[in-house]
Amino acid sequence: MKKHLNTLFVTTQGAYLAKEGETVAVRIEGKVRLRLPVHTLDGIVCFGNVGCSPFLLGFCGERNLTVSFLTEYGRFLARVQGPVSGNVILRREQYRRADDLDFSARMARAFINGKVANCRALLNRTVRDHGDRLDSEAVGDAANHLTGLLKSLGRDRPLDEVRGTEGDGAHVYFSVFDHLIIRNKEDFFFHRRSRRPPLDRVNCLLSFLYTLVMHDVRSALECTGLDPAVGFLHRDRPGRSGLALDMMEEFRPLADRLTLSLINRGQLQGKDFVVSEGGGVRMKDKARKTLLTAYQERKQDVLLHPFLEEKMPLGLFFHTQALLLARFLRGDLDGYPPVIWR
């Protein structure tokens, strides 16, 4: 059964979700405004003051559906999931391998390889599509620099060197990110990453999308029976989802690309954001809806998985990668193949 990959995003303040038979009923001011069969969903994300009945939470837990609670602005609050899934052998293998620093370095290389290659693909593609409207020389140079980093990642290296390469790559990539914005430059610009709070509109979009991708990667890992907390590149830190962060690396450029297309196609405008006194930027409701819809639509796009060479909706890639990782840990594959776009 192909997963439907629909995530229910609830942004209406004061909404209450309840279980009615096999469906989720969304009540607003006491009236049922929407009913969705649970089996068509793979996750529920509640923004701000949205309530959820314990029976619905239990039902979702049984069906491997994660329910996440975020603030209105997309900051993660809590997540409710069912019983720990049964794959103790896989998890033990994951813990053993995570303790092995050489192995961890190898995994880290795979994740960073994926990220750097995808960043490079994004740069090259933008030059190809809009070369006449941006500083294609600077962007091209950055892409070449990333090619050099990929070469060095092809060799065995200790974990901290891999981290160094990652830092290098992120620096080079983000130093030309502003060039990729070719519309509404007075409202949308990028100088450096800022997160808490995001200090410009582009960072605001990036952070929000990363949260969404994180939610999906995490659920995929959990569904597969992996422990999202125990990573290879990202070492253990209480409260941090190390493995989810690891696996997110290869998917970050996806969020970047969506951010750019929302801006460059004019789907979002400067007035869709609120800038607070302190300089922090947040989205207005309408912008958040536009972004959520765009993300959902993007996940429905059917693409060729570069390693499996099978077509599948983009949303399924998170699950597929979690599975490929599990299969590698269980000895079926000779490595972990990150998704790499060309």
Partner: protein, 209 residues
């Protein structure tokens, strides 16, 4: 003889006979995915599995009967066990298992039924010569004789099952046509197996050019 701690699920025999990797994915790795076929089977069994008993003069029927065999190291439930009154006024157990779909060419369903019979023999200290499979699509029973050959196949399968599930190793996949009908195809990824260095080659191809 096994102890109660060693008992494995009777239904795992079927998974083993279908594919040892599928069996390990379900029982070692606890992966479970539902497809149309498993959902239909679940609904069919939900209807059957309302424990209870029924009786007519010469047949007593018990639904969802718990079973076990320490000799085979298996436990599970029988959809239906009919008790047929014999001329000497003893009752002879007759297991019936519900299956969606139609009769299969291979032994998988018969082995599961035979294992139930072996459990009944051990628990009730009797001989169970026959049972039946009820196929949802045919809407009729197919009788099954528990002959020496079927008993031997069942005992061997139980032994292999214990061997597989006492380890932690999931057998490597082997792609074949029936993988396409398996609900685990998306979890198992059978086509990824068997090729050496394929991830290494993929990485080189995707990053070094």
């Amino acid at each position: 003889m096994y102890t109660e701690d060693d008992l494995l699920m009777l239904s795992a025999l079927q998974h083993l006979l279908f594919c040892p990797r599928q069996c390990a994915l379900i029982h070692l790795e606890q992966a479970w995915t539902e497809n149309r076929f498993t959902a239909e089977g679940r609904v069919l069994h939900e209807r059957v599995h309302t424990a209870g008993a029924d009786s007519r003069c010469t047949v007593r029927v018990e639904y969802d009967m718990p079973l076990r065999s320490l000799r085979l190291g298996l436990s599970g439930r029988a959809d239906i066990v009919e008790m047929h009154l014999q001329e000497d006024s003893s009752w002879l157990p007759f297991p019936v298992e519900y299956k969606r779909g139609r009769p299969k060419k291979d032994d998988t369903d018969r082995v599961q039924l035979c294992a139930q019979a072996l459990c009944l023999e051990e628990m009730l200290d009797c001989t169970v010569p026959e049972g039946a499979l009820y196929y949802g699509q045919k809407k009729r029973r197919t009788p099954v004789q528990f002959d020496d050959r079927l008993r031997r196949v069942t005992e061997e399968a139980a032994a292999r099952l214990h061997e597989l599930l006492s380890g932690t190793v999931t057998p490597a996949p082997e792609y074949s046509r029936r993988c396409e009908s398996c609900s685990f195809i998306d979890t198992c990824l059978p086509r990824t197996a068997g090729k050496k260095n394929q991830v290494r080659n993929y990485m080189t191809r995707m990053t070094q050019s």
